[in-house]
């Protein structure tokens, strides 16, 4: 009946982006405010190191301000920011030789709290043990694979949007996750 209402409808992200490209700092601040939590979650899903992720996020925002005149037109701001962050993390992690979280670190972090795809599905009967297993398994994946799974299953990006990112055989990743059952 009614068109789909997304949470984004309260904030005009594209307009914030436009402000930014015109050199208005309010645009930058608005984008930060709107996306910071999601970006932290995304970054931490790739590498569970708060300081490291914070640095990367800072650099992403400093960069887009630096190059605001040459930024592309707003098409998919969220994907752009997520991609930038992943990129940054990927590069910095290589430098710092951070990659997979080691088994030992994972053990230390237990118990972990899991967040499922689509929190809107409240009240659904999920298997908590299974989710923990899944979240743990997810952590062990290489960054690129994690990134793609994030996009597809947690950030609601479409397959087309996601596939731009990949040269990754998603089927094999899914197959591997399926083995958890």
């Amino acid at each position: 009946l009614k068109s789909h209402i997304s949470q984004i409808s309260f904030v005009d992200v594209d307009n914030l982006w436009k402000c930014l490209t015109e050199g208005d700092k309010n645009g930058l601040e608005g984008l930060y405010k709107y996306f910071s939590r999601a970006l932290f979650q995304h970054g931490l899903s790739l590498i569970a190191d708060q300081d490291f992720v914070q640095d990367c996020i800072q650099e992403v925002f400093i960069d887009i301000w630096k190059y605001h005149k040459s930024l592309p037109k707003a098409e998919n701001v969220k994907l752009y920011l997520f991609r930038s962050l992943s990129h940054k993390i990927f590069r910095e992690a290589k430098k710092a030789k951070k990659g997979k979280t080691s088994e030992a670190e994972i053990q230390l972090e237990m118990p972990i709290f899991t967040e499922s795809r689509e929190n809107e599905l409240i009240g659904i009967q999920r298997d908590e043990q299974l989710q923990k297993k899944m979240a743990l398994a997810m952590k062990k994946l290489p960054i690129r694979q994690k990134e793609v799974l994030q996009y597809l299953f947690f950030e609601n990006f479409s397959y087309e949007e996601t596939s731009k990112v990949m040269g990754i055989n998603l089927r094999s990743v899914i197959h591997w996750l399926g083995k958890l059952f």
């Binding site: 910071s36 599905l121 997810m138």
Partner: protein
């Protein structure tokens, strides 16, 4: 079609399949149910893919507000440095925020301390809040609800996304999660509604009325649960299970033609046969009174016609009235009732006065 040789992985990666599992709509539902019908051998794989999708989880990280803040401060600082370097004395338009900040620092010491005070206070609040919240945050998730309200005097016909039909009686309200959950179709009801539920094996249809939960798979039934009246659930076809979360939780089943009357105060329920017309007559504009008291009648009429009825003198104690009015105006109904109940009435727009003979 190309989806014939689908494996679990293909299902999981298929956007329309994901939509069907996680936030189904008419078209995905139809498509995948047809698919299941045509390829029953895929049932097991679909089930597994569903479990995989539903349990797809990642570790949740909470980041403190202070980190979010300080990250922004760092960005802001760097950005200002950049700008200052670039400017080197040139005059450029400044954004509103930096203008305000500048003024804060210029001369006006009072303003500065005021802002500093607010910031310190805010920071303290954040710290205290974080301590209180302990180590992990409970995330608030805005759920999107679809809401419908039929004001007094108006009945409303609805078609839900799953194909179920709802007739909402006057003065009633329902709400449900947009697209429903992926494993159930849950609605909350205040007031009265008649349901014709579309069959969906995988997702039971659940109506919540306070502590009473009515669960069905595919059926038609009527729930009457106005806040001020007795609650009554009547089943026309199919079967329903009613859960009552009383002091001792209780469960009953209804078969077609049965109704249950629930007295929340006494925590009593009474199974009865129902004469369908007095319960569902309203769905085809028929008011039916069956040994009703004048007070019940007044409440029904007020709601039905969206009017306010004032009484002068009280009706006789043991006055019970039966009657049936199909598509009648309020005037005709009152006219009909006035003979047996012995009253005079006056209708003035939405104000009605009933005067009983003494």
């Amino acid at each position: 079609m190309g989806k014939l040789n689908y494996t679990i992985e293909d299902f999981v990666l298929d956007a329309s399949f994901r939509k069907w599992i996680l936030s189904p709509d008419e078209s995905t539902k139809k498509y995948w149910e047809d698919y299941l019908k045509k390829h029953p051998s895929k049932y097991q794989d679909i089930l597994l893919a569903r479990v995989l999708l539903l349990n797809m989880a990642r570790a949740a990280y909470s980041v403190s507000e202070s980190r979010i803040e300080s990250t922004w401060e760092n960005i802001d600082r760097e950005v200002q440095k950049l700008d200052n370097n670039a400017l080197q004395g040139k005059v450029l338009p400044i954004s509103a925020i930096s203008t305000i900040k500048r003024h804060g620092h210029q001369g006006n010491a009072y303003q500065f301390y005021r802002i500093a005070g607010i910031l310190v206070f805010g920071l303290a609040l954040v710290i205290v809040f974080n301590i209180l919240k302990s180590d992990h945050e409970v995330k608030e998730v805005p759920a999107l609800y679809e809401e419908h309200y039929a004001p007094p005097g108006v009945k409303s016909n609805l078609m839900l996304q799953d194909g179920s039909k709802v007739i909402l009686n006057a003065g009633s309200f329902i709400r449900y999660k947009k697209n429903f959950d992926s494993d159930k179709r849950e609605l909350e009801l205040v007031g009265e509604a008649y349901f014709e539920v579309a069959k969906d094996r995988l997702r039971p249809f659940i109506v919540k009325t306070g502590i009473i939960t009515t669960q069905v798979l595919g059926t038609s039934f009527n729930i009457k649960a106005y806040p001020e009246g007795e609650m009554k659930i009547a089943l026309l076809t199919g079967s329903v299970e009613i859960n009552m979360d009383l002091d001792h939780s209780e469960k009953i089943h209804l078969v077609p033609g049965e109704a249950v009357k629930i007295d929340l105060e006494k925590q009593e329920f009474l199974k009865t046969d129902f004469i369908s017309e007095d319960l569902i007559g309203w769905t085809y504009n028929t008011i039916v009174f069956k040994q009703a008291t004048m007070y019940e009648i007044i409440r029904i009429l007020e709601n039905w016609y969206g009017v306010n009825i004032n009484l002068i003198n009280n009706p006789h104690q043991d006055l019970f009235i039966s009657g049936r009015f199909q598509e009648q105006t309020l005037g005709n109904v009152l006219e009909g009732l006035s003979y047996s109940a012995r009253f005079k009435y006056e209708i003035n727009r939405d104000q009605v006065t009933i005067t009983f003979e003494n």
